[in-house]
């Protein structure tokens, strides 16, 4: 108990000094390892990164896209697209080659999936056209 009472609760001056010396040694070691070329390369990457970020943030289209993509609806669409890509890759890779010929085309046209696809594409196309007309009309 006496030992515990005598154990200092605050770091001693020597402990702080030792830590400072360690820190200074790390800084010196880092400094010795550095070269002009390392500094120039890192600076170049940071410079180009900042320029790229500047270009992105000044692109009103990209920023609007990020905003839209943040919405729950957009995330659901992105998940649907991602899942579809994954499954479609497997389905296409596992399917027999198309037989060809007019009969095959007619079968494809009658396939509900074909109509689903056309409906999705026409909906998307119509909305893009509408947005473009609105934007150019305001110029």
């Amino acid at each position: 108990m006496n030992d515990a009472a005598e154990t200092p609760l605050e770091p001693t001056e020597n402990d702080d000094l030792a830590r400072l010396i360690e820190f200074a040694q790390i800084v010196t070691a880092g400094r010795d390892a550095m070269s002009d070329h390392i500094v120039a390369r890192v600076a170049k990457v940071l410079t180009e990164g900042l320029n790229l970020l500047d270009s992105v943030t000044r692109n009103s289209g990209l920023m609007r896209l990020f905003q839209v993509l943040e919405s729950e609806d957009s995330q659901a669409l992105l998940i649907a697209i991602a899942d579809a890509l994954h499954q479609a890759g497997r389905d296409i890779g596992g399917a027999e080659p198309a037989a060809g010929g007019l009969g095959s085309i007619l079968r494809t046209a009658r396939d509900p999936n074909t109509q689903e696809t056309l409906r999705a594409l026409t909906t998307f196309g119509a909305l893009v056209s509408q947005s473009l007309r609105t934007q150019y009309a305001s110029d």
């Binding site: 400094r31 120039a40 890192v42 600076a43 940071l46 410079t47 900042l50 320029n51 500047d54 000044r58």
Partner: protein
């Protein structure tokens, strides 16, 4: 409102990008148009030339396509101006186009004119052009001993450069282990070793430490190329084995031809940065006649003020700021040490001891310059 910027160097590029940011809404709504005219499709980082001369940067690092640096809101043309018709608020370019403006910014820079000193062009090396910097690099590599004379004409781009050259020469030959075979003599045209008093005060003991001979009040008169002698107006002369000159400078020829300023230096209000007698014409960078250093740094700080003021004129009808003469210059004090000089109209520089981290800051800035000209830093 049509804003026309003439000159695609540091000042003009920073100004145009800064304006494009500040006036983006107005430009999108077509209430403001912003045009930049330049004589070149390339932008050069001129401070890098000294590094090229000492083999520390390659030439390709100095250039970027000007168009790649500019905001899409800027209408950029490589079509140098040939005629300024300030009374009619228009300029005429080499291609024959006429550009009208409501606000004009002239940022045409300066050029070297070694022909002003007989024999200088033939007899002296310099580092103020790409070709000259590369040639100087070769001459330094081949130099095995003798006297190197450094001469300076004022005003010139980058006032700190002559002092930096001396430090770099000293360390260069030390690294080659032939410093004892090289005698370096520095010549300066006024009564101290630098126009900025505090830089002269800081550099003098460093020159003494490095065993640099110096002669002040040496205004170049002529170079005797055959006998390798440089002579001064004051009647003195120095024999040399290698002559490195900071040559005379003038504003661009187009400024002189249009009689906008004697020597190509346009009379400019030191606070408003407007051309004397023309409130809708701003001037920035080397081509002003301001009592500040001709440096990219000065052009940068001037561009910030001019951009803010032009944007304010567009938005609220009145400028909002004065230029305080601010300049910030790195000073390479050798192979791996640097310091900096920051000063303005009211406060002279207070130079700190040179250090390695400061040198690294400069090395980093050689890259970060490409953020500066985009108006980011």
């Amino acid at each position: 409102m049509h804003i026309l910027v003439v000159g695609g160097g540091t000042g003009g590029t920073i100004l145009a990008n800064n304006l494009a940011r500040r006036l983006a809404p107005e430009i999108r709504k077509k209430k403001v148009s912003l045009t930049l005219l330049s004589a070149s499709d390339r932008h050069m980082y001129q401070p890098g030339l000294l590094y090229v001369a000492f083999g520390e940067m390659s030439v390709d690092e100095l250039y970027r396509d000007e168009a790649s640096l500019l905001s899409s809101h800027i209408d950029f043309h490589v079509d140098p101006v040939e005629t300024f018709r300030l009374d009619q608020n228009e300029v005429l370019t080499r291609s024959g186009q006429t550009y009208e403006y409501d606000i004009l910014v002239i940022a045409t820079g300066s050029r070297i004119v070694p022909d002003q000193v007989p024999g200088l062009k033939e007899g002296a090396e310099t580092f103020y052009t790409e070709a000259a910097a590369l040639k100087l690099f070769q001459r330094l590599r081949e130099f095995e001993g003798g006297t190197i004379a450094v001469t300076v004409d004022v005003p010139h781009k980058c006032p700190i450069a002559p002092v930096e050259l001396i430090f770099l020469l000293h360390d260069y030959f030390k690294l080659r282990k032939i410093r004892d075979k090289v005698h370096i003599k520095y010549h300066y045209p006024i009564g101290r070793i630098h126009t900025i008093a505090n830089v002269a005060k800081w550099a003098k003991p460093e020159f003494d430490r490095m065993n640099i001979e110096y002669e002040t009040l040496f205004n170049m008169k002529e170079v005797d190329v055959e006998n390798k002698v440089v002579r001064s107006e004051e009647g003195t002369e120095t024999n040399y084995d290698l002559l490195i000159a900071v040559p005379p400078h003038r504003g661009m020829a187009v400024i002189e031809h249009n009689q906008l300023g004697v020597g190509g230096w346009i009379p400019t209000d030191r606070y408003k940065l407007t051309m004397d007698g023309h409130d809708n014409v701003y001037v920035l960078g080397d081509t002003t006649n301001l009592p500040v250093s001709k440096t990219g740094s000065a052009a940068h700080f001037e561009a910030e003020v001019v951009a803010e003021n032009i944007a304010a004129v567009v938005k609220i009808g009145s400028p909002v700021r004065d230029y305080d003469g601010k300049v910030y210059c790195f000073i390479e004090a050798g192979h791996d040490r640097a310091t900096y000089a920051m000063f303005d109209y009211s406060n002279p520089p207070d130079l700190k001891p040179a250090s390695k981290p400061m040198h690294w800051f400069k090395v980093a800035y050689n890259q970060m310059y490409w953020n500066s000209v985009r108006g980011l830093l």
